[in-house]
Subunit: 336 residues, 2 copies
C-alpha cells in the first residue's frame, strides 16, 4: 500500500471542483481507493485539505461563497461515493454523531461519521444544527455507546455544552473533536473525551462500550457573562452600529447591505468574545480578529473601520463583562 498521497491529488481535486466538474472530481477520489488509500486519508488529505484551501482563498477574497458552495457540494458527492463502499460492514457498537445547534458545517461532521463507520461502528449521523433537547430524546431511545460532537467554529461552543448536558441527562458520555476544540476547551464545555482523529475516537468509543463511564448529572458550569454576551450579541451590535456613525464618518455613505454587513461583523465580534470567555482562552478571540482583519482588508475595508467598530463596542461590552472589554481594547491596540 502506498504511504504517500500523490501530492497533487488535492490540487487536482480542487481544480476539478472549482470548474464544477463533479463526475471527474468524484472519480479522482474513488480512483484513490482503488490505489489502496484509506478512507480517512482521502477524506482528510484530499477533500478536507481542499476545503481548507477554499476557506483560505475565500479569506483573501480570491474566491466567493458561491465557489465555496460549489466545491462543498462536490465534496459531499465524493464523500457519498466513497462511503457507499464501506457501510455494510458489521457493527461493533454504536455512536450518534451530531453538530451543535446553529452549526451548519455538515461536511466535516459527515466526514467524521463516515470514517467512524468505516472502522466498523454503527453510526447514526444527525448532521448540522440539531437542538440539544431533541438529541437527548434520541439518545434516551437509542442508548448508543457515545455521542460524538464535531465543532469547527467557536460560535458553537455554547451549543456543544448544551449537547453534553443533554447527553449526560441520559447517562450517555460525549466525545468531541474538530478544529475549534482543544482538550482543555472540550473539558471546559463539559465534554468527557477529546479525540484528535477518528482512530482515537473509535478507540475511546470501544472502551466506553466495554465499560460505560460515569458522567456528571448536573449541567456543566458555564461562565454567565459568556452566555450573556452570546445572547445579547445582536442587540449590542445594533447599538454599536448606531454609535459607529458618529465616530466613523465614512459609514454615512454606506448602502443598506454594507450597513447589514457591518452589523453582522459587530455581532460576530461579540459572539467570539463570548466564545473566548466560555472556554477561558483568549486565543479564540485573537485568532478571530486576525482572520477578520484579513477578510476585511482583502475586501477593501480599511483597518481603521475595524478598529473604530471595536472601539465603540468596548463600553457596551463592558456593561456585560469587564474582561471581554479588556480583550477588545487590547485588540484595538494591536490594530494600531
Amino acid at each position: 500500500m502506498p504511504v504517500l498521497l500523490p501530492h497533487r491529488a488535492t490540487d487536482a481535486f480542487l481544480d476539478l471542483a472549482l470548474a464544477g466538474d463533479r463526475s471527474e472530481a468524484v472519480r479522482l477520489t474513488t480512483d484513490l481507493v482503488e490505489e489502496g488509500f484509506s478512507l480517512p486519508t482521502i477524506l482528510t488529505e484530499v477533500i478536507g485539505a481542499a476545503q481548507c484551501e477554499v476557506g483560505r482563498r475565500w479569506q483573501r477574497a480570491e474566491l466567493t461563497a458561491a465557489d465555496e458552495h460549489l466545491v462543498t457540494g462536490i465534496s459531499h458527492a465524493a464523500l457519498a461515493a466513497l462511503s457507499s463502499n464501506g457501510h455494510r460492514r458489521a457493527s461493533h457498537g454504536t455512536a450518534v454523531v451530531a453538530c451543535a445547534e446553529g452549526d451548519w458545517h455538515a461536511l466535516p461532521s459527515q466526514m467524521f461519521a463516515e470514517s467512524l463507520r468505516a472502522t466498523g461502528l454503527g453510526v447514526l449521523h444527525l448532521g448540522a444544527s440539531v437542538p440539544a433537547a431533541d438529541v437527548g430524546a434520541l439518545l434516551e431511545r437509542r442508548r448508543p455507546d457515545g455521542l460524538v460532537v464535531t465543532c469547527n467554529l467557536p460560535l458553537s461552543y455554547l451549543g456543544v455544552a448544551r449537547l453534553a448536558d443533554a447527553a449526560h441527562r441520559y447517562g450517555v458520555p460525549v466525545l468531541a473533536g474538530g478544529r475549534a476544540l482543544t482538550p482543555e476547551r472540550a473539558l471546559t464545555l463539559g465534554v468527557d473525551a477529546w479525540a484528535a482523529d477518528v482512530t482515537r475516537a473509535a478507540e475511546i468509543l470501544r472502551a466506553w462500550r466495554r465499560s460505560r463511564p460515569d458522567v456528571p448529572a448536573p449541567p456543566v458550569d458555564l461562565e454567565p457573562a459568556a452566555v450573556e454576551l452570546t445572547r445579547r450579541a445582536a442587540g449590542l451590535a445594533e447599538r454599536a452600529s448606531d454609535a459607529l456613525l458618529g465616530v466613523f464618518p465614512a459609514m454615512a455613505s454606506y448602502d443598506d447591505r454594507q450597513r447589514d454587513h457591518t452589523r453582522e461583523d459587530l455581532a460576530a465580534i461579540v459572539r467570539f468574545l463570548g466564545a473566548a470567555r466560555l472556554v477561558d482562552d483568549d486565543e479564540v478571540f485573537t485568532s478571530f480578529t486576525s482572520w477578520l482583519e484579513e477578510v476585511l482588508t482583502s475586501r477593501g475595508v480599511p483597518v481603521e473601520a475595524l478598529a473604530a467598530g471595536m472601539t465603540v463596542l468596548a463600553p457596551l461590552v463592558r456593561e456585560v463583562d469587564e474582561s471581554s472589554a479588556g480583550l477588545l481594547e487590547a485588540a484595538v491596540a494591536r490594530l494600531g
Copy 2:
C-alpha cells in the same frame, strides 16, 4: 415500465430511515431504479414524500428535530446513490441551482438539481444559503442559460428577490420553484419564470438556451415596509417579549430556554408578516399561524400564549406597517 409506485415504498423508506438503517433505505431507492421508475418519480414520491411526512409528524410533536435530521441525512445518501448513475450524460445547456441566503434547505434544492441533470442539462449546484452578490459573480463568469432558485419557506422571499436582482445584473434569467412559491409570488419577487416541476423547468431552460430572454436591468421594486419588518424582526421580538411578561403572567416562570423560544417565535411571526407583505399574499401569514398553532399546542403551549404574543406585537408592528398590524389582529381574533 410501471406507472404506479408500490404504494408502500414511501412508508418503507421512512421506517428504515427513522430506524437509522441507511444501507437498506438507500437500497430500497436504488431497487426502484432497477424496476424502471424514473429519478424524478423516486425523488418526489418516495424521498420527497417521506420528508413531507416527517415534517407533518414533527409539527404534531410525534418526532423531534433529531429524527428529522437522521431521515434527511439518509435521504441525502439515497439521492447521492441515485444520482451517481445519471451524471455522465451529455450536457445540453447549463443551469446554476441555488438557494437564497439564509435558506438552509439543501435537500429539495439538490433533488431539483439532480433531476435537472438527469434531463441532460449541465448543472452547477451551489446548495444552501449563498449570498446574492457571490452568485452574481459566478453567473458573470459562467454565463449559464439560467439561474434556478428553489424556495420552500416564505422566510427566503427577500433572498430570492436579491438573487433575481443579482442574476439580472449580468443578463441571466431566473427560474424559480418550490413549495413556498406560486407563479404570482415568483413574479412579485422579480423572477422571470416559475415551474411546477422539473420537466417544465427543463423546457423553459432549453427555450432560454435557444433564445435568451430580455431581463429587467433595475432591481425589482419591493414593498419597503415588508423589507423593514424583516430587518427589524429580532428587535421587535425582543421588545414584545419584555411586554409579554406584563400581560402573560405564566411567562414569569419560564426558564431561559423557554424565553429564547418565545422570542424566536415572536421574531418568526414578524418575519412571516414581512414575507406575506413582500408577495402581497395574506395566505402566507394565515397558513403560518395555523402551522404555529399546531406546533405550539402539540407541545403543551396554550393557544392563549400565542394570542397574547400576537397582541403585544401588534402595536410594535404598527410602528412599521399598518397593514401587517391588521393581519396580526385578525389572527388574534381567529384564535380567540
